[in-house]
C-alpha cells in the first residue's frame, strides 16, 4: 500500500516536472527553484512528511455539520499543517474534493460541496499556500463514502478530502 502511494507520488512528481518544464524555462527564475531545493535537501525529501503515517498530514479530510461549509475548529490544525507543508513544498499541489450528505437536492449539494472545498482553499492560502497549488472540485452527494440513510453515514459524507 505504502509503496503504491509513494510510486503514485513519484509519478505525479515526474508528471509535474515534465509538464512544468517549459514554463520554468520561460518564466520561473532558476534561483527560486534552487532555493526551494536547498531548504529541502535531498535526504529529507526522501522521507516526505506527507508519507509519514504519524504526521498530522496523514489526516486528509475535514468534516462538517449538516448544511455547513466553514472549516470546523477541530479541523483547523490539520488544514494549517497542510498549508505549512504546501508553503514549504511549492512543487506540490493539492486537489480539494468537497462532498455532502444526501439531504438536499444533488444540485444544491454540488454547490455546498464546492463551498466546502473553497473554504479549505481559503484557509490553505491564509496559511501560506499558493493559489496555483490548489484546485477545488465538488462531488456533491454523488460519491458517498457511506450509503446508509442515517447520521452515521451522513457524517462521513459531509467532508472535504485533500488529495495530493
Amino acid at each position: 500500500m505504502k509503496k503504491l502511494v509513494i510510486s503514485i507520488v513519484l509519478v505525479n512528481l515526474l508528471a509535474a516536472c515534465a509538464s512544468e518544464k517549459p514554463k520554468e524555462t520561460a518564466q520561473a527564475p532558476a534561483p527560486a527553484a534552487a532555493a526551494t531545493e536547498r531548504t529541502a535537501p535531498a535526504p529529507a525529501a526522501a522521507v516526505d512528511e506527507l508519507n509519514d503515517a504519524n504526521s498530522i498530514l496523514a489526516n486528509r479530510s475535514t468534516y462538517y455539520p449538516f448544511d455547513v461549509s466553514v472549516v470546523q475548529e477541530a479541523d483547523k490544525p490539520l488544514v494549517k499543517a497542510h498549508a505549512r507543508y504546501l508553503s514549504e513544498n511549492l512543487d506540490r499541489s493539492v486537489r480539494l474534493e468537497g462532498n455532502c450528505d444526501e439531504r438536499g437536492s444533488n444540485e444544491y449539494n454540488l454547490g455546498l460541496g464546492q463551498r466546502r472545498a473553497d473554504g479549505v482553499k481559503k484557509m490553505l492560502i491564509l496559511g501560506g499556500a499558493k493559489s496555483s497549488q490548489i484546485t477545488t472540485v465538488s462531488y456533491g452527494e454523488e460519491r458517498p463514502r457511506a450509503t446508509g440513510h442515517n447520521e452515521a453515514s451522513w457524517k462521513q459524507n459531509r467532508r472535504t478530502d485533500l488529495v495530493y
Partner: protein, 423 residues
C-alpha cells in the same frame, strides 16, 4: 368519418452506444381517480402476437393514468362496428368500447386500425389508423392509447412521450432515454463517473447533462440523433444544472467560476456566457417559465434553502416558498400556473406543488426520498425519483395526488428522471 393516418409520428432515433436493454419492469399502481371511466378494449384481430403487444400497451397506459377502469370483454370480440351489441356492453358496465385490427403492412410497418365507440349513446366516436416502423411496435400502442385518452378526457395524451433518467449500477452510470412507461430503454451514455441533471431541449432532439468524467462537474449537450456531444461549460470549479429556454436559443446554467454557485445564461454552442444572479449564496436549479420570461431557482440566500423567482434576463428575485422545511428543484407546469418541487421536512423528502396565484403549497407524496419532480407535457402526471426496497426507482403521481405508481427496473438505482416534450 374521421380517418387519420398517423404515419411518421414516431421518428426513428439513432442513438449512439445503444444497448438493447431487455427491461423487466414491474409497475405498481396505488390509488385511483375520483371517477374512473369504464372502458372495454376487445382483443384486436389480425397478427396474433402484434395484437397482443399493442393491446397490452394500450391497457397498461390507460390504467396507469388512473382515469380508466378496464371492463372485461368476457371473451366477446366484435370485429366490426356492425357486430357490436351495445346493450350487452352496457350490461357489462362499459361506457366506451374499443375494437380494432392490426397488421404488418407490405412496406413492413406495423399498423393498427381501431374504432372508439360510445356505448351509452351507441355512436362511433372515432376511427383511426396508426402505424410505425416494425421496430417501434410499442409506439403504435402508445399512440392508440393517446387517441383514446384524448377523445375521452379532452386532454392531450402523453403515452407517446419519452423520459430521461440516470441508472446507477454499481459504479456505472447510464444515461437512459425510455418510453414514458419505462420500456424501450436506450442507453445514450455509459461511464464510471457520476452523471446528473439531464435536461431535454424543447424539441426533444438533445439532452444537456452534467458529467464528472474529467474529474469535476462539466455541462455537456448531446444530440439524440447522432450521439454527438459538445462541452457546453467547463470552467474552474463546478458547471451544472442546465435548463433550456422554451425557444431553445439559450440555457441557464450554474457556475462557480466567480465564487459560489451562481446562475448564468449561455447559448447552446457555449458562447455568450452572462451572469444573472449576484449573491454570495448558492443559487441553483434554474427553470424557465413556459413563456420564457421568468426563472424559478433554489437558493439559501435567506438562510434556509427555498424557491425564488426572477426575470429571466436578470433582476430582483422574489421568494416563493415559506414556512417549515427546505425546498429544492422547482419546475414549472407547462400551463405556467403552478410549480412542482422537492419539499424536505422532518427528515423526509416529499413532492409538493404550489399554485402561483393562491400561493398554497400542496404535498402530494407521503415522503421518503422523493426528489427531482417534473411534469408530464400535459401537466396531469408528475414523475420523480423515489426509493423503495432499498433501491432508487422512478415514480409518478397524478397532479391531484390521487394516483401513484412505482416503476422498478431490473437492476440498479434509477434517479434524476425528467419528462421529455411531446414528439
Amino acid at each position: 368519418m374521421l380517418l387519420r393516418t398517423f404515419q411518421g409520428m414516431i421518428g426513428l432515433l439513432f442513438l449512439m452506444q445503444v444497448t438493447a436493454a431487455k427491461a423487466e419492469l414491474t409497475i405498481e399502481i396505488v390509488g385511483a381517480g375520483e371517477y374512473q371511466f369504464p372502458v372495454a378494449i376487445v382483443p384486436f384481430s389480425g397478427d396474433g402476437k402484434l395484437a397482443q403487444v399493442i393491446r397490452d400497451v394500450v391497457v397498461g397506459d390507460l390504467q396507469r393514468s388512473g382515469l380508466f377502469r378496464m371492463v372485461d370483454p368476457e371473451g366477446v370480440s366484435p370485429q366490426s362496428v356492425a357486430d357490436v351489441a351495445y346493450g350487452d356492453w352496457q350490461i357489462r358496465g362499459a361506457e366506451a368500447l374499443v375494437i380494432g385490427s392490426v397488421a404488418f403492412r407490405d412496406d413492413g410497418r406495423a399498423e393498427a386500425r381501431f374504432h372508439l365507440l360510445d356505448v351509452v349513446k351507441q355512436v362511433k366516436l372515432s376511427e383511426q389508423v396508426v402505424s410505425a416502423d416494425a421496430g417501434q411496435v410499442r409506439a403504435v400502442g402508445h399512440r392508440v392509447a393517446d387517441l383514446i385518452y384524448e377523445k375521452l378526457t379532452g386532454d392531450r395524451g402523453v403515452f407517446n412521450t419519452r423520459i430521461a433518467y440516470v441508472n446507477r449500477i454499481g459504479r456505472k452510470y447510464n444515461l437512459v432515454v425510455a418510453d414514458s412507461d419505462g420500456y424501450n430503454e436506450q442507453v445514450v451514455l455509459s461511464q464510471d463517473h457520476p452523471v446528473m441533471s439531464p435536461a431535454w431541449s424543447p424539441d426533444g432532439s438533445h439532452l444537456a447533462y452534467v458529467g464528472f468524467e474529467t474529474g469535476h462537474a462539466v455541462v455537456y449537450v448531446q444530440s439524440l440523433y447522432t450521439g454527438q456531444r459538445k462541452v457546453l461549460a467547463d470552467y474552474a470549479g463546478s458547471n451544472s444544472a442546465p435548463a433550456w429556454s422554451p425557444d431553445g436559443r439559450q440555457l441557464a446554467i450554474v457556475l462557480t467560476r466567480d465564487g459560489s454557485s451562481q446562475i448564468y445564461l449561455v447559448r447552446p454552442d457555449g458562447s455568450g456566457v452572462r451572469r444573472i444572479t449576484f449573491s454570495d449564496a448558492i443559487d441553483t436549479e434554474p427553470d424557465f417559465s413556459p413563456d420564457g420570461q421568468h426563472l424559478l431557482f433554489s437558493s439559501d440566500r435567506g438562510g434556509s434553502v427555498q424557491i425564488y423567482r426572477m426575470p429571466a434576463m436578470g433582476g430582483l428575485a422574489q421568494r416563493m416558498t415559506f414556512g417549515e422545511g427546505n425546498n429544492f428543484s422547482p419546475r414549472h407546469s407547462h400551463d405556467g400556473k403552478s410549480f412542482v418541487f422537492a419539499h424536505f421536512r422532518n427528515g423526509k423528502f416529499h413532492i409538493a406543488v404550489q399554485d402561483f396565484k393562491t400561493e398554497q403549497m400542496e404535498i402530494l407524496t407521503e415522503g421518503g426520498w422523493d426528489k427531482k419532480p417534473s411534469f408530464a407535457p400535459n401537466d396531469k402526471l408528475i414523475m420523480f425519483a423515489s426509493e423503495a426496497r432499498g433501491r432508487g426507482i422512478l415514480a409518478t403521481v397524478s397532479s391531484d395526488g390521487r394516483v401513484k405508481q412505482r416503476i422498478f427496473s431490473q437492476s440498479g438505482d434509477a434517479r434524476e428522471p425528467v419528462w421529455g416534450p411531446y414528439p
